[in-house]
């Protein structure tokens, strides 16, 4: 596998504000690479630099062998973008949206028509061909954005929170399609706040926070190195913490108190769980560790605004 995107000390400033703060990463051809992070982490800013609509302030960013930059038409030609905002042309129908977009890529009309028919089928919108955009549900709009991003048969697809605001059916359909594209060899760059999405799709990911990369790795590896295997949650006020920590602490490899909940992270939760049963506390949960635990541990459990 060869490297298709590589960033060194990549930095983006808006005036005095640093949105992306000197990050390094490499994306391999054909993989699905995820940017995870809370609101304002700098995910969108980073991918906008990759697809050449936002200039790089400092550092280097190379995409498919050439430097990313707003005048790089060649790169834009081989990239497909599913934006975070729904940026469909509301003055046009579903079909016209795709037809106009195909022109932007200089796709000849005959070829465009065949491709549009194919893509409408791919995202299950054939029956909506002549609908106006405001007659579509959010799920349909997002699917249309997927179809639009595929018109130019891109080698790199950038999906910026592609399933935000969707119901489970629509979300799973989009995941299916993205996996299908990956199977065809397309490189997928995904940003998301949904841990399940990252776990479902990403081969490797980075966790971003306040413009910096906190951790990088594959989902399973990150969970194991950051959390362990199991999580035990005890929901109760902190007045008995000292006693609980004395008894259970040695059985866990880490703990955290957040609001009304005490978390224990364990390599093997069975021992701790047994001790907990003896204590006979109400409101306890024992579950496998997830990417969400990693995310919350790294970026903090309190609100970030």
């Amino acid at each position: 596998m060869s490297t298709i995107v590589s960033a060194r000390g990549l930095t983006k400033k808006y005036g005095d504000f640093t949105a992306v703060d000197g990050i390094d990463f490499e994306i391999q051809e054909g993989e699905c690479f995820g940017f995870l992070g809370p609101n304002g982490a700098g995910k969108t800013t980073t991918v906008r630099m990759i697809h050449c609509v936002s200039p790089v302030t400092a550092g280097t960013l190379t995409v498919d062998g050439s430097a990313a930059g707003v005048d790089n038409r060649a790169l834009k030609k081989k990239t497909g973008v599913i934006p975070q905002e729904i940026t469909l042309d509301i003055d046009l129908t579903v079909y016209e949206n795709l037809l106009v977009f195909a022109r932007f890529f200089d796709i000849p009309k005959r070829e465009a028509k065949a491709r549009i028919a194919e893509l409408l089928k791919f995202v299950e919108l054939e029956t909506r061909r002549d609908s106006k955009i405001d007659q579509l549900s959010t799920g349909m709009k997002r699917r249309l954005l997927v179809a639009r991003a595929l018109l130019n048969k891109p080698r790199i697809i950038i999906a910026d929170e592609p399933t935000t605001g969707l119901d489970p059916q629509a979300r799973h359909l989009i995941w299916q399609r993205l996996r299908q594209l990956k199977a065809q060899g397309v490189t997928l760059i995904l940003t998301t706040q949904y841990m399940e999405e990252a776990q479902q799709l990403c081969d490797r990911l980075v966790v971003m926070h306040q413009g910096k990369i906190l951790k990088a790795g594959d989902p399973r590896g990150l969970i194991e190195s950051e959390i362990g295997k199991d999580v035990v949650e005890i929901r109760m006020p902190p007045d008995r913490d000292e006693e609980l920590l004395a008894r259970l602490g040695p059985l866990a490899c880490g703990h955290e108190r957040v609001g009304d909940t005490l978390y224990f992270y364990c390599r093997d939760g069975i021992g701790l769980w047994k001790a907990l049963v003896d204590l006979d506390l109400p409101n306890t949960v024992h579950r496998p560790a997830t990417l969400e635990d990693v995310f919350l541990k790294l970026t903090g459990r309190s609100l970030i605004e």
């Binding site: 808006y14 050449c52 934006p83 042309d89 046009l92 106009v100 977009f101 022109r103 932007f104 639009r148």
Partner: protein, 255 residues
């Protein structure tokens, strides 16, 4: 300037989005100039007698025609473009394709000047029905060129305003403080020769004055030497506004 033939793709997008209500839009843009023709031309014209040997309408039509071009192209680049940037995020998806920000803005300027041109042509047809026509076919061709140049100039000036506009209200400063007064100080309704000296001087700084002068010359087929200055102003200011407008819009679009 990263311009390419893709300007036409953007023009095409606009054409497609307008095709459903193209007739109404163009007819609506005729209302205001027609209103001027009827109230000033027919109403007041009755009291004004002959104007350089011809009825007042002959004086009025070339000016009103050019101001309808100015209005259409200006409004398209103010409200039309603003909606596309802010409410429809259209430019965001455009610049993610091989269409550059410059292409996108130039495509909108081209579209706005096209709208101006169509408004002007419709006005010309109306004037023709009233019996007021340019002297020759050549005059008509010159007029079309003038309308196109004036459209590009006012569309580009509109782009400059839009590049700084935080909201719709901002546009009324431009339309109320610049465009509307210009209509009355540019010799559209009355010959500039009757104005006091300071107003004559002021009018020389208004681009519409020069546009109207060319239009009037084209209609009559008589080109005074001062026409060269008029052409230089329209072409020069148009080219300058085009470049500056695109630059400033790019600054707004690319962050």
């Amino acid at each position: 300037m990263n311009l390419s033939y893709r300007i036409y793709h953007v023009f095409f997008r606009n054409l497609m989005s307008y095709k459903r209500f193209i007739l109404t839009t163009f007819l609506v843009s005729l209302v205001q100039p027609l209103f001027y023709l009827i109230t000033f031309g027919v109403g007041m014209g009755a009291y004004m007698g002959a104007f350089g040997g011809k009825p007042y309408l002959y004086f009025l039509v070339p000016g009103v025609l050019i101001s309808s071009v100015m209005m259409s192209s200006t409004f398209e680049c103010l409200y039309g473009t603003f909606v596309k940037i802010v409410h429809e995020h259209l430019y965001d998806s455009l610049i993610a394709t091989p269409v550059s920000a410059e292409d996108a803005v130039a495509g909108d300027i081209a579209w706005a000047s096209f709208r101006g041109l169509v408004s002007g042509i419709l006005m010309l047809a109306v004037a023709g029905l009233m019996g007021i026509l340019p002297v020759s076919v050549l005059s008509v061709l010159v007029l079309l060129l003038v309308m196109l140049a004036v459209g590009i100039m006012f569309a580009s000036l509109g782009m400059i305003v839009t590049s700084k506009a935080p909201n719709f209200d901002f546009f009324s400063y431009y339309t109320e403080l610049v465009i509307t007064p210009m209509l009355f100080f540019s010799g559209v309704f009355f010959p500039l020769s009757n104005f006091p000296g300071w107003m004559k001087t002021l009018s020389q700084f208004l681009p519409l004055t020069h546009a109207v002068a060319i239009s009037r010359a084209a209609f009559s087929g008589e080109y005074p030497p001062s026409i060269l200055l008029n052409i230089a102003v329209v072409v020069g200011l148009g080219a300058l506004a085009f470049v500056v407008g695109i630059r400033m819009m790019k600054k707004r679009l690319i962050k």
